[in-house]
């Protein structure tokens, strides 16, 4: 709770710094995402109130740019490459398998807050296609069958992997 309060105090400072400048919404949203890790409903309401813009405008900008996340991301962020090389090598089936194993849609987070599943553009490891990344750790030459074992590792292992 105290942690939350500190973050909102930080946000308030950020808003005050940008309040009277034109186009203040973008830097404030970016800053807020840095502070909170996402721009949740409460954070957006605070921004709207603080900058004197409507929540509709804040939400519109936040949903326009893929860079902003509306919900807190999981402890482990799984990014599956859908770049051309990976896609040709079947990364869609990797993504589908992950979605099935974790029981979440692409872009979703597991209810326990452990995993977030995302599709991403080229990760620059085309030689290893199809590729995914879990918190910076790259997994290449994947097959759908290899997925459950990898996920199990993270499920059982509290933060020791990677």
């Amino acid at each position: 709770m105290d942690d939350e309060r500190t973050k909102f105090a930080e946000l308030e400072k950020l808003i005050a710094e940008h309040k009277d400048q034109k186009g203040a919404l973008m830097p404030v949203l970016q800053g807020a995402q840095g502070i909170f890790g996402c721009v949740s409903e409460d954070v957006q309401k605070a921004i709207a109130e603080g900058l004197g813009v409507t929540l509709a405008e804040v939400y519109g900008v936040a949903t326009f740019y893929a860079q902003f996340s509306l919900h807190p991301k999981g402890k482990y962020l799984i990014s599956v490459c859908l770049g051309t090389a990976c896609y040709v090598k079947g990364s869609q089936s990797i993504l589908d398998k992950l979605s099935q194993v974790l029981d979440i849609p692409v872009g979703g987070t597991t209810p326990d807050g452990k995993f977030t599943l995302e599709a991403t553009r080229c990760l620059g490891a085309c030689g290893l296609a199809p590729v995914m990344m879990i918190n910076g750790q790259v997994y290449g030459r994947l097959t759908p069958d290899a997925i459950p074992a990898i996920i199990d590792k993270y499920k059982n292992d509290d933060g020791e992997v990677a």
């Binding site: 409903e41 409507t54 929540l55 509709a56 939400y59 519109g60 326009f64």
Partner: protein, 582 residues
């Protein structure tokens, strides 16, 4: 003339004022460049590309945002341009739910009209990415159907820029772009003031009023119900448009006849309620002035304004007149005074209000607006809904003889009829307040300073040797500006009038919908107001307190303005509201 420029459009030389767009200049040359997202003065963003023209630039330019320049040569009607526009329409149709036959906007739809004009042959030429949107119909006033939305953003612009509300906006991007309230909230969970300006500015059927005509038909066929109807002042200034009559035609008599033919048991007039409102409101104003009450007092007839004040300016709630709005007052009188006179149990009476307003639907459902467990008003329908009922009942409106309202609460003065235009409530109140305060006859009843469509109007009126400052705002965006002036304290105001819609009720969210193209040339607010001011002048009585039936209701029932009974039945309270209720 220095401030004129000359350009050539489709080979026609045209002179246009400096600062004109090509779209405007072309209209002067008698060329109608088609538009869709364009809404004069409100949404000029060049987004839909319908209005593209060839100005000699590398690519086609949107005429609505293209400044006309001296010596410019523009083509608006080449085969290439026509194909381009048609293509835009075909692409719009690829994602559009084409249920035109049952669409509320059929034959009054700008998309439909464009398709016909530009000769679109196949509405299914392309199969587009379709999202099956849930219709948001939880608001008592406004329905949003994104399956018909063309993303023109006219609703967004009017809600944000004109009304200063901004409860909807574009969400997501690309093919998933939609006009939504944030965080998947329904309109009813937002600080939407139900004004309906989004509806009257929507080119298609993506926004419409919550239809309550079925409720009215059910009441009319129920033999146990005594159904009383009352139309608002502004309805008579616009209803005729639904039947092809020119804008600004007053149809009071035909409307009264139509209501009788529809089968209502009594046809009273909200104008009577307006006269009653003036009696109470002028009295309240005089009391506040005499007894050091909270000033400036602000009018309370517009339910969009009331919800706006409750949500955005709760510190001004003590300034709001405690008077109920005219149709609520009349409803309360129907279920007490009339019920008693007619010997009918109020439980068996239903009151239907015909309003130029979608916010009245929300207002009628307010629990505080009732008495003995009965709502003052049972159903509110808009001008558009009444027109639909008249059509459905096969009534040839234009051939109807002029009828009269029923007596007891059917008489009204000129002061009441101008309630439908911005400044009208102020003017009506001044006509009565002047005579109440001074005890003298007011010879010139016309207060021209408070008339007209300017956003904020100010006047200083000398009443019995004292200068009284008054001001009038129309459009809630202007209301905020006016309240800022009050807060700044540069001038002391005694009385303010606010109407939520630009131009007042004549341009309300429940009124007939006028296309953006017509609005380029005609000011709806002005034309419809003319009908009301014309009626005012034609009335033998132009001050509310001269209305014989008003005198009678006080003599027989209410005693005097501000009496205990009047307070119980004709006055109300307000509450602070949160911006989000989710």
């Amino acid at each position: 003339m220095d401030n004129m420029i000359t350009l050539t459009i489709d080979g026609i030389e045209v002179q246009a004022p400096q600062g004109s767009t090509v779209l405007e200049a072309a209209r002067l040359a008698g060329i109608r460049i088609p538009t869709l997202c364009f809404l004069k003065g409100i949404n000029e963003i060049g987004a839909c590309r319908m209005c593209v023209v060839d100005s000699g630039a590398r690519s086609l330019q949107a005429a609505c945002v293209l400044p006309a320049a001296n010596g410019m040569k523009v083509k608006t009607n080449t085969p290439e341009i026509r194909a381009y526009r048609k293509n835009i329409l075909e692409l719009l149709l690829s994602t559009h739910e084409k249920k035109c036959l049952s669409c509320v906007r059929s034959q009054n739809c700008e998309l439909q009209a464009l398709c016909k004009e530009l000769g679109v042959e196949d509405g299914d030429k392309f199969e587009g990415f379709k999202v099956n949107y849930t219709i948001d119909d939880l608001s008592p006033s406004i329905v949003r159907d994104n399956n018909k939305c063309v993303l023109c953003r006219r609703c967004v612009a009017v809600c944000q820029k004109v009304q200063n509300v901004g409860v909807i906006g574009p969400v997501n991007r690309g093919m998933k772009t939609a006009i939504e309230s944030p965080w998947e909230m329904h309109l009813s969970e937002m600080s939407c003031i139900n004004c309906g300006q989004c509806i009257v500015n929507c080119p298609v059927g993506a926004l419409y009023e919550k239809d309550d005509t079925k409720k009215v038909w059910d009441l009319l066929r129920d033999p146990s119900k005594h159904v009383v109807v009352q139309p608002a002042p502004a309805v008579r200034a616009a209803l005729g448009e639904e039947f092809g009559l020119p804008m600004g035609t007053s149809v009071t008599g035909k409307m009264a006849s139509a209501l009788k033919r529809l089968g209502f048991d009594k046809v009273f007039d909200t104008d009577f309620g307006a006269d009653l409102t003036i009696m109470e409101e002028a009295n309240e104003l005089v009391e506040r002035i005499k007894n050091g009450g909270v000033l400036p007092m602000i009018t309370s007839c517009s339910p969009g304004w009331i919800k706006y004040c409750e949500t955005y300016h709760p510190d001004f709630l003590p300034n709001l007149s405690s008077c109920k709005s005219p149709h609520e007052m009349l409803g309360a009188m129907v279920k007490t005074y009339y019920a008693e006179k007619a010997g009918i149990d109020p439980k068996d009476i239903a009151v239907v209000s015909v309003m130029p307003c979608t916010a009245k639907k929300f207002e009628a459902a307010r629990p505080e607006l009732g008495h003995n467990g009965l709502a003052d008003v049972d159903v509110v329908i808009t001008t558009r809904e009444l027109a639909r009922m008249i059509k459905e009942a096969n009534i040839n409106f234009n051939l109807l003889p002029d009828g009269d309202f029923d007596s007891l609460m059917g008489e009204s003065t000129g002061a009441a009829v101008i309630f439908g235009a911005t400044g009208g409530v102020m003017e009506a109140a001044l006509r009565t307040a002047y005579e109440v305060i001074t005890g003298e006859k007011l010879e010139n009843v016309d207060f021209h300073d408070v008339r007209g469509i300017e956003g904020i109007k100010e006047a200083t009126v000398n009443i019995g040797g004292t200068d009284v400052n008054v001001a009038v705002a129309n459009g809630t965006g202007n209301a905020t500006k006016l309240l800022e002036r009050v807060k700044n304290g540069e001038k002391k105001y005694t009385f303010l009038e606010v109407m939520a819609c630009p131009g007042g009720c004549v341009n309300g969210g429940g009124q007939p919908i006028v296309s953006a193209e017509t609005k380029m040339d005609v000011d709806v607010r002005v034309e419809r107001a003319k009908a009301l001011y014309g009626e005012d002048v034609a009335k033998p009585l132009r001050k509310s307190h001269e209305n014989a039936e008003i005198k009678q209701i006080y003599a027989d029932f209410l005693d005097k303005p501000g009496s205990h009974l009047a307070h119980e039945l004709l006055h109300t309270t307000y509450q602070k509201r949160e911006k989000y209720s989710k």
